[in-house]
């Protein structure tokens, strides 16, 4: 109370004041219970409030905070916020504070021979590691998987060395570009591409972790056109693929579970001798899909599992629709139609929202539940080209990262909004540009259509950071400085 009076006495004449109650969900930065509401001048902004909280916590190293009032970030002064929202300055304002996101800095770039279409990570915190039953990932032995347009998978360690490369087409590798690749477990990799196959690989590393081997395990046939996306659920040994042939494929990673491969789609049926030569000398087991879910009328650009319930799948397609599938029966549960082609999909389970990147340069947040009344809950605008990749923030349930053909990755917090003429529109928190542009000294120049720097895939891991792959033949790793240290 004494603090209260001192502050009020100092500046009462000069400025309006408002009583605020500062709270936090995280225990390590929570204020002691005794801290009651305090009076602060309404002219304060985020930075001043952050300093105030740091003082109250008497923390040695100041932690930057963001402040949430009624679920949205404070982006103006308190005064303007009160005026905009018509809140009286007499009420006690509940302000929740969270750690601010730290601007992601460029850590490293791994050069490839060709465009990199997909990437995944293996770390202690990655989903593949958490699903793993037998093998575990040691700390400091993080691996990055990249699938490239040259049809090769590569495994990288954090010091930008290629540990393993998948075999070439003649030795059982992909015969065309890889469009999606994922770790199933620390020992298994799934990949899919324009050769219409999903391939499962066994990944083994030697003792020191400086060399590895990717060996073909299983080839899955069934799609009649290029496969655009791949989702993995390791506990149930299931894969979900989205393909340009308008179907969603549901596969098993176990040889025993999978049905036989459809004969007509096997490469041996191809027409001429020369192409047959390309076919691999290595014979790998060939299997078919558990189910091909048809319903879409245009190429399926993304298919994912529900983050909570692996029997539910979602797919997004160029036909503007987002469909919910019951994977057990293979039935179509629900169709949500938007007004643009959807190119990527991510599930935000805590918010019951699906984020879908569109060809119309934005991200729509869709509530897939049957009870939802509105199709699009929110729109995140900022990209200047198609949004082709989405990933969840491992730190926050509200965070999201998107990779777009405009050559940037953007970090979004759906609490960071502004009111537009079209309603509530999300704003990106940070934008990550390609390092390759900066190295060429053209960081400022705008590429038409993101030419040469398109981002094809983005992945966000707690340990490694943000990994993005793109047309500049690189994997780029960005990490917010201090994110790791704050958890350590």
């Amino acid at each position: 109370m004494s603090e209260d009076q001192i502050m009020s006495g100092a500046s009462e004449a000069a400025q309006r004041q408002v009583r605020v109650q500062l709270t936090s969900q995280q225990e390590d930065i929570a204020l002691p219970e005794s801290t009651g509401p305090i009076l602060v001048p309404t002219g304060l902004r985020r930075y001043a409030l952050s300093t105030l909280v740091n003082n109250l916590l008497s923390s040695e190293k100041p932690i930057p905070f963001e402040f949430l009032i009624n679920g949205t970030f404070l982006r103006t002064s308190i005064d303007e916020y009160l005026v905009d929202n018509g809140i009286s300055a007499e009420t006690t304002l509940e302000i929740e504070y969270v750690r601010a996101l730290i601007p992601p800095l460029h850590i490293a770039s791994f050069q490839h021979d060709d465009w990199v279409s997909s990437t995944d990570v293996l770390s202690t915190t990655s989903p593949a590691a958490s699903w793993a039953s037998g093998a575990t990932v040691k700390k400091g032995q993080e691996r990055i998987l990249s699938g490239s347009y040259d049809g090769l998978l590569r495994i990288w360690n954090m010091s930008s060395e290629t540990i393993a490369t998948s075999p070439a087409a003649t030795e059982g590798g992909h015969t065309a570009s890889i469009k999606a690749a994922k770790f199933v477990s620390p020992n298994q990799i799934a990949s899919a591409g324009l050769d219409r196959t999903v391939r499962l690989w066994k990944y083994t590393e030697d003792e020191g972790g400086f060399a590895g081997k990717i060996a073909p395990q299983l080839e899955l046939y069934g799609h009649k056109s290029g496969i655009e996306s791949l989702a993995v659920h390791a506990q149930s040994n299931r894969l979900l693929t989205g393909s340009s042939d308008h179907t969603v494929g549901f596969w098993s990673t176990k040889k025993a579970d999978a049905p036989a491969a459809p004969e007509n789609l096997l490469p041996s049926n191809a027409r001429n001798s020369k192409r047959r030569k390309l076919n691999s000398s290595v014979s790998t087991a060939q299997r078919g899909p558990l189910n091909l879910l048809s319903g879409h009328t245009a190429p399926v650009s993304a298919a994912i599992f529900d983050a909570k319930d692996a029997t539910v799948g979602y797919s997004a397609s160029w036909d503007h629709s987002l469909r919910t599938w019951d994977l057990v029966t293979g039935g179509l549960v629900d169709t949500r139609t938007t007004s643009h082609s959807l190119l990527s999909l991510e599930h935000l389970p805590e918010l019951n929202l699906l984020a879908a990147g569109t060809a119309a340069r934005h991200i729509t947040l869709i509530d897939p539940r049957a009870s939802a009344t509105t199709v699009a809950a929110m729109t995140l605008r900022g990209h200047t080209n198609a949004v082709v990749s989405l990933a969840r923030d491992p730190h926050s349930t509200y965070g999201l990262i998107s990779g777009s053909h405009d050559g940037t990755c953007r970090i979004w917090d759906i609490r960071s909004t502004k009111t537009d003429k079209e309603g509530v529109v999300g704003e990106s928190v940070y934008s990550i540009t390609r390092k390759s542009l900066e190295e060429e000294g053209k960081a400022d120049s705008k590429r038409v259509g993101g030419e040469g720097v398109k981002v094809f895939s983005v992945c966000w891991d707690k340990t490694i950071g943000i990994v993005s792959a793109g047309e500049d033949k690189r994997i780029q790793i960005n990490r917010g400085e201090g994110v790791l240290s704050s958890k350590a």
Partner: protein
């Protein structure tokens, strides 16, 4: 006092001595009251005339000679003399006497008509003959009678006088005066006479005196450093005047005592005046509305900055403008004044042409009578067609999403495959390439020819097979790109291979037939390298096909060789894929408009549209009839497209036509053979036009050599009564103009509102 005496004396003197006028006049001047006689010449004349009998003429002469002097006198002397005779200026010429009632009575002096008032006294010697001519007395020695009846003798004539004077000898210097000191006759020397003359002339008598010495201005406006007088400032300059104070106090006292009233007391009105009735004619006058025909004079515009007396500097003309304005004919001047900066309002001179301007304004108002014009009160906005705003017509392509780079040289043709995943392009480097549409990744490439450019690439419609038709040089290639799954690939190959058997069953053309010009070509297999690359069939035409258009069912396609040297009979050919058959349906050249340019099948009817340079003809293929001729009015048609939802009924077809003379024309076949709308938005030739192939988006686009694409909304309703709505939506810029060429071809995505363009700069672009 006694003018008569004076004049007599004068006459006597005159008679006696002429030369000594100075002396005698000096005498006379000494007499005080002579002034009257002297000042009025006319009076004197009349007197002398009346008095004298005989010396009339002499007097006349004399008076002439004396004129100058007299006038001199009259200037200077009267100031002395008048003071004696007239009352002092301050003294009133009124006497106040009491009349019988005791009131004041003002008696004024009698007013004299002239200053010499004694004139009226009767002259004893006046001639009394009355108003008869004197010549009646010429015979007599007298000239009349005086008041007493005595004769007035004729004065002596000149000769007699001269004789008399001659007879008298006057000694030199004789004055007729006696020197009182000596008692001898006074003689005056020449110097003395001169002295006297000077005295008489009122000059300074001493010699060497210059009356007109240059004036030294001792007292001037200039303030000298050393003053002429060191006298202190007189007291009166700074002490308030006691005299004035006395006078003021007098007035104050009078006001206090009520002797002076500050204002006049109102006069009491007479009763008589009150009885007067004043009629106010305008007391209850109400303002009347203007006459129906009244037109108020047009208002002059209010003055602007230029008219200001102190205009801003930018309004002031510089010397060049001023000169130009001055040299210009007043009639040609834009404005009839030049802006002028006077600095401040008090420096502004009178406006010299004010009167003239007002006069001209009056003339304008008077000579140019105002007429009420009947004006249609229509809001110009309402005349514009109600077009929806582009925002409402979304989606349409707005930005470049992907750049497809790889072709060397121009990209001539572009086509999106029916599934919408791939893009095929053909360019000047002789290659056909297939790309992943969204990412811009090249998936397949084949070099069809080393020398010739690939002029056109077109996918076979339908999703059951993937076949790409490309024209390079004289040949048409049918290819199955190895990008599809084995099933569809097989199906595609089967479609292409089915004709081999048919061709084999056909008898080979005889030698005579081969010699003929329009022998249909044989379809052949390509070279092994091309075969490996995916090309399956080659159709060798002898001329360069520039256009390929598939029939919607995918079994036929029409090619047009638009080269001027192509014989008319083989310019247009229809190819049947299933039979490997090429036909030449036209024997003769289409009338009017040069070689054929391009041809398309109707989307639903068995009608072939063929365009030559100036017209488009529609032929019914089943009945082999000419159905319709369209005259777009363009000089050289480059391309046209038929609306995909064109009805299968007799009417309802819409066609867009692009022409090299920069026009985009919309034809509604029901309306007229002339265009319904002409859109002229490009600066250079239009190369390609295309409707969106699905009926979902009512969009069409054109590509021009100015490097831009234009996207239009063109919705067609099923209703026969309403016409198509055409709204320009977007100009897409990005292609660089290379060698005078911009965008060469355009195609739409089959489902989405995305379009792809091929540029002369070697790139293709996806717009979405």
């Amino acid at each position: 006092m006694n003018p008569k005496a004076a004049s007599k004396k004068r006459k006597a003197v005159t008679r006696d001595v002429e030369e000594e006028a100075g002396v005698f006049s000096g005498d006379e001047l000494s007499k005080e009251n002579l002034d009257g006689a002297l000042s009025d010449n006319a009076n004197e004349l009349s007197e002398s005339e009346d008095e004298s009998d005989s010396d009339f003429e002499v007097v006349d002469e004399f008076s002439d000679s004396e004129d100058g002097e007299e006038e001199l006198d009259s200037d200077e002397i009267p100031s002395d003399t008048e003071e004696d005779r007239k009352p002092a200026p301050g003294e009133p010429n009124v006497r106040i006497v009491k009349d019988a009632n005791g009131n004041d009575r003002y008696l004024y002096d009698e007013i004299h008509p002239d200053d010499n008032s004694e004139y009226s006294e009767a002259d004893e010697n006046a001639n009394t003959i009355g108003n008869i001519p004197l010549k009646f007395y010429d015979e007599y020695p007298h000239i009349g009678y005086d008041i007493n009846g005595k004769k007035i003798m004729r004065p002596a004539k000149g000769e007699a006088l001269d004789a008399l004077l001659d007879s008298i000898e006057i000694p030199k210097g004789w004055t007729g005066l006696t020197d009182p000191a000596t008692g001898k006759p006074l003689e005056l020397s020449q110097e003395e006479l001169e002295l006297l003359r000077k005295v008489q002339m009122n000059e300074v008598p001493s010699d060497g005196y210059d009356p007109y010495e240059p004036l030294v201005e001792w007292f001037s406006s200039q303030q000298e450093i050393m003053p002429l007088s060191a006298a202190p400032e007189p007291k009166r300059r700074f002490v308030p005047s006691k005299h004035e104070q006395k006078r003021v106090m007098k007035l104050v006292k009078a006001i206090r005592e009520g002797r002076i009233l500050p204002y006049k007391a109102p006069e009491e009105k007479d009763e008589k005046e009150e009885e007067l009735i004043n009629y106010d004619l305008w007391a209850d006058e109400a303002e009347r509305p203007d006459h129906v025909m009244h037109i108020p004079a047009p208002k002059l515009p209010p003055p602007g900055y230029e008219e200001s007396y102190h205009p801003p500097a930018e309004y002031l003309p510089d010397s060049k403008e001023r000169k130009e304005w001055e040299q210009m004919d007043p009639e040609d001047r834009e404005k009839d004044f030049l802006p002028n900066d006077f600095g401040s309002l008090r420096r502004v001179p009178g406006y010299e042409s004010f009167v003239q301007e007002k006069f001209e304004r009056c003339l304008d108002l008077y000579l140019a009578p105002r007429v009420r014009r009947s004006k249609l009160n229509i809001d110009p906005e309402s005349l514009l067609p109600k077009l929806p705003s582009p925002e409402e017509l979304k989606p349409f392509p707005t930005a470049c999403a992907t750049v497809f780079r790889g072709h060397k040289g121009r990209v001539r043709s572009v086509a999106v495959d029916p599934t919408g995943i791939w893009l095929a392009t053909g360019g000047d480097d002789g290659t056909v390439r297939v790309w992943e549409l969204l990412t811009g990744r090249q998936l397949w490439s084949v070099k069809l020819s080393d020398e010739d450019a690939v002029n056109v690439v077109r996918w076979r419609p339908g999703k059951d097979a993937v076949i790409l038709a490309a024209a390079s040089g004289d040949d048409i290639f049918l290819a199955v790109p190895p990008i599809v799954d084995p099933e569809i690939e097989k199906a595609s190959l089967e479609i292409l291979d089915a004709g081999w058997g048919f061709a084999a069953s056909k008898p080979a053309p005889s030698a005579s037939e081969e010699g003929k010009k329009n022998t249909p070509p044989q379809w052949i297999r390509p070279s092994s390298t091309l075969l490996d690359a995916g090309v399956c069939v080659v159709i060798p035409l002898k001329y360069v096909p520039k256009s390929i258009s598939w029939h919607r069912r995918g079994d036929y396609f029409v090619t047009v060789c638009s080269g001027a040297s192509t014989p008319a009979s083989v310019a247009i050919s229809i190819h049947t894929v299933s039979k490997h058959l090429t036909q030449f349906p036209f024997r003769r050249r289409l009338k009017g408009g040069g070689p054929p340019q391009t041809a398309h099948f109707h989307p639903s009817k068995p009608i072939l549209f063929v365009a030559n340079q100036r017209s488009i003809r529609a032929y019914d293929l089943s009945r082999q009839l000419l159905v319709k001729i369209l005259q777009p009015g363009a000089r050289w048609i480059s391309s046209f497209d038929i609306h995909p939802t064109s009805s299968s009924a007799s009417g309802g077809d819409n066609i867009i036509v692009g022409s090299y003379d920069r026009r985009l024309l919309w034809h509604d076949l029901d309306l007229s053979q002339r265009p319904y709308k002409t859109l002229r938005y490009h600066r250079k030739a239009i190369r390609a036009v295309k409707f969106h192939p699905s009926g979902r988006y009512p969009l069409f686009a054109d590509a021009s050599d100015d490097g831009s694409l234009q996207i239009f909304h063109g919705s067609v309703t099923g209703d026969m009564l309403s016409n198509a709505t055409i709204v320009p939506l977007k100009v897409l810029k990005g292609h660089k103009i290379t060698g005078e060429l911009g965008v060469l071809d355009i195609d739409w995505h089959p489902r989405e509102a995305w379009c792809v363009s091929a540029g002369a700069d070697g790139t293709c672009r996806l717009w979405m």
